[in-house]
Amino acid sequence: AQTVTQSQPEMSVQEAETVTLSCTYDTSESDYYLFWYKQPPSRQMILVIRQEAYKQQNATENRFSVNFQKAAKSFSLKISDSQLGDAAMYFCAHRSNNNDMRFGAGTRLTVKP
């Protein structure tokens, strides 16, 4: 089964600055989907961004973008112009062909005013 590793338990960023959260995964498949979810203290998981493995172009959603390196099995999330509301737990997830979804352990992001 695939595994997802987030090596940064905690990260902090100054408001308006840029931060990058790391994620690596292990899979034997060539076609899959990758996700970043945000979980604020209220615990409602919210989709931030997703990437189809067959697409070479990195996904972007406003201030959020990814750096997808398929050969390296790396999927980092970049948050630009960080805002106080970005503070949350961020989970990287891999979804395989059989819909098996695996999450990393998460990175807690703190935004300093």
């Binding site: 615990r43 989709l47 979804m101």
Partner: protein, 115 residues
């Protein structure tokens, strides 16, 4: 559009007691998931339904956990009897039809504390 609803939001029970959680997915979503999220960890899939049929329950501890989705809409997850290590947040999610590209939408979760 209403999101995924879950109840109760919090539950405290003693070990060996039983507990049930309820989930109402987004209208029209055929696929429903139950996840267990232990403090400090990412969610772990317990069971996946497609309409009222089970697609994947390989990580469900079947000796004590059970789940059903009788009419293909609402779902209940039951723990009987509960153990201390079952303390976690139980998340329900749904997606349109479970295709790989379909996004899962999560409910607020039920926080369970087993004493």
């Amino acid at each position: 559009e209403a999101g995924v609803a879950q109840s109760p939001r919090y539950k405290i029970i003693e070990k060996r007691q039983s507990v049930a959680f309820w989930c109402n997915p987004i209208s029209g979503h055929a696929t429903l998931y139950w996840y267990q999220q232990i403090l400090g960890q990412g969610p772990k899939l317990l069971i996946q339904f497609q309409n009222n049929g089970v697609v994947d329950d390989s990580q469900l501890p079947k000796d004590r956990f059970s789940a059903e989705r009788l009419k293909g809409v609402d779902s209940t997850l039951k723990i009987q009897p509960a153990k201390l290590e079952d303390s976690a947040v139980y998340l329900c999610a749904s997606s349109f039809w479970g295709a790989r590209q379909e996004t899962q939408y999560f409910g607020p979760g039920t926080r369970l504390l087993v004493l």
